[in-house]
Symmetry: C2
């Protein structure tokens, strides 16, 4: 009889995180070395608290829906394990659960925080001599994981953002009046999501006119000059900004305390698009719309990218193969072989190289003067948003898998 495997989902949701879950299940099913397939409720919190579900006997029709369902159906967490040297209580509980369910393979789907968990658990297993293979499966819309060409979850978010920017741009310019639209997308430390809007430029409206990224320090006077120049060229302009824009001192604009208070000194509400909008409204254009593309950029399964969905499945499937080949303390990574045609391969890298680190957009891919990104970035991102998906639906609405947690 083989050992059992356990799967957890962690960190912020994406639309393809359950595709990776299904990839893991399919990989485990096809291996004689793995007996039962368990899922942990709420990531590592479920392992800590012995909240484990048996996925082995789930019906096939239900399993197939996993691929087409956004947001962790096993639940998620943002739990950070203490350093091993400081406190072993959590580790003892976790490995008691591992022992109870005879877990020989642990797969953890998540971002750079989750890879910290993978790293620490692997270290502890080696310390106590518990035989287990622990593999991280990359997942984040932010695309900020080191060591992988890109992250499952990013392509779909990028597709949603580019499509939405095309649609918002067209919506905003229907009237015969000047308008500045400022569209805010996620990205506290990196501009991968904001830069994805460059794909919208192929539409005849040719937006966005300007893109502002956290990688480049933001200067208010430059910003106002650039908006003014654009408004001299055309009456209606669209600007995309990342939520995490920072000033030259590295402070988030929304936290800078400068120019972000009303005349009585009270902090104003809203994100960076709102702040920038106020600046423009005060001086350059009377009609300004600040639009936040919010939760939908990581939740809109209805705009999923086929390549992303497939790759999310494959990183899960490959993770099982790597584990069975003896790998542990590793993360599955995507290696790009070529752009034309788009070809990738899967490999593993040591999780220490990924945990708690952040990959930014290479500076040479950014055009700092024109406030846009270079063709290298376009070539990088273009294949990631491609691929059609036939989605299961019922009466015009999506058919999602059931949840394994309570609401």
């Amino acid at each position: 009889m083989g050992r059992n495997c356990l799967i957890g989902q962690s960190g912020g949701p994406t639309v393809v995180i359950n595709s990776s879950l299904l990839g893991l299940i399919r990989g485990a099913e096809s291996s004689a070395a793995i007996d039962k397939i368990y899922g942990a409720e709420y990531g590592i919190e479920g392992v800590l608290n012995d909240r484990i579900v048996d996925l082995t006997l789930e019906e096939q029709a239900e399993l197939e829906l996993f691929k087409y369902t956004p947001a962790s159906i096993l639940g998620s967490c943002r739990y950070k394990l203490a350093n091993l040297e400081e406190e072993v209580g959590d580790y003892q509980k976790i490995f008691a659960t591992f022992a109870k369910y005879k877990i020989g393979y642990f797969f953890y789907i998540g971002g750079n925080d989750s890879m910290d968990t993978v790293m620490k658990l692997n270290k502890y297993a080696q310390q106590i001599g518990y035989e287990i293979n622990i593999i991280g499966i990359p997942k984040t819309i932010d695309n900020d994981l080191v060591g992988t060409d890109h992250c499952p979850g990013y392509g779909s978010a990028a597709k949603y953002i580019a499509t939405s920017v095309m649609e918002i741009a067209r919506d905003g310019i229907v009237y015969d009046r000047e308008i500045v639209q400022i569209i805010e997308v996620m990205g506290r430390d990196t501009g991968w999501l904001a830069a994805a809007s460059i794909l919208a430029k192929k539409d005849s409206v040719a937006s966005p006119d300007l893109i502002f990224l956290p990688e480049i320090p933001f200067n208010k006077l430059d910003f106002l000059r650039e908006v003014k120049e654009k408004l001299a060229e055309r009456k209606k302009i669209n600007i995309v900004v990342a939520e995490g824009l920072k000033d030259s001192q590295g402070r988030y604009l929304v936290d800078s305390g400068v120019d972000y208070h009303d005349e009585f000194g009270h902090r104003k509400m809203g994100g960076v698009a709102y702040l920038l909008g106020e600046w423009v409204k005060g001086s350059l254009c009377n009609r300004v719309k600040s639009i936040e593309i919010n939760i939908m950029q990581r939740a809109a399964f209805h705009a999923v990218a086929g390549n992303d969905l497939e790759e999310a499945f494959r990183v899960g499937f490959e993770a099982v193969k790597f584990a069975l080949a003896g790998e542990t303390g590793k993360m599955v990574a995507i290696k790009r072989i070529s752009n034309h045609p788009y070809q990738i391969d899967y490999e593993v890298i040591a999780v220490e190289k990924v945990a708690n680190k952040t990959k930014k957009i290479p500076l040479e891919w950014i055009d700092q003067e024109l406030k846009t990104v270079n063709p290298e970035f376009y070539d990088y991102i273009s294949p990631l948003v491609q691929g059609e998906v036939e989605m299961p639906s019922k009466r015009g609405l999506p058919s999602f898998a059931k949840l394994y947690i309570k609401n």
Copy 2:
């Protein structure tokens, strides 16, 4: 030689407004009585200012893209004509343009304000004895036009909202913590859009838990009690609210001046979801997310409903037939024949019955106690969001028609 026709688009954009434009063009092409097909830039403003484009010679491949392109490609306006008794200047200019281009048919796609324009122009034509057939084509995501079962544009917005509520609900409940999500949708005077979220209830997450509509006066104490009761049943709840919620005196909540200021008396930013969120946060639940489904609900062609797209085309196509049959001063309306199977027909109604009026949700379709809508509403809306659409795309992103206005 026949007379020419002119088409204008007016009011807020929808994702199917250009499908109606194409329907009109196809109707006009197939008639020997109509010679040239013109479009007015920015609705009636283009007629006033002689900004007319000739659509007759547009390429077929480009015309076909009209159907798959959101937001008025001819541009739009919110221009209200003066009363005829007060000021005829605008009328003289408009009819000078009509005469210049030999316009014998004028088609105006829009909502209840646009039907005011149709009504007034028709009256003036009769006064001066100008031979023209003027027909309104309904269009609004708000679904608030009197005399038609529903409005083209509504079904797609409803589908987007229901889908998004499903996705946002799932996104919000992944963690093992209490949460209240308050999702705000459009609708200043009617709850048609907010009520559409009832479709999301079929998902296993069974959200929304509560729906608040402008048709029913909002009471803060009742609201807090209802949220508290729901939180006693489950840890994670989702609430949908219309932006135009009003108190018992008919004042918009966001304008009420009550409870909407910070401790220093300054008005807070944000919409009604934010306001309600602050109330809940202060008393019932520490984790509250207020989410505005913004522009995308009327711009997201990527989530268009097939039935809506087809009906938008047909109201345009039928408008030409009605005009050729001699109708004028009328709006094309949709009449529902049956729900199972879903069957409709097209008719015309006098535009006086529509202009400047607002259709609300029938009170008997609303469950005031449970803060939801009744099965009658569900049966009404269910067919409107159905129908699949094959969308033209290129490298994973939509292929939209060109704009006939400058940005």
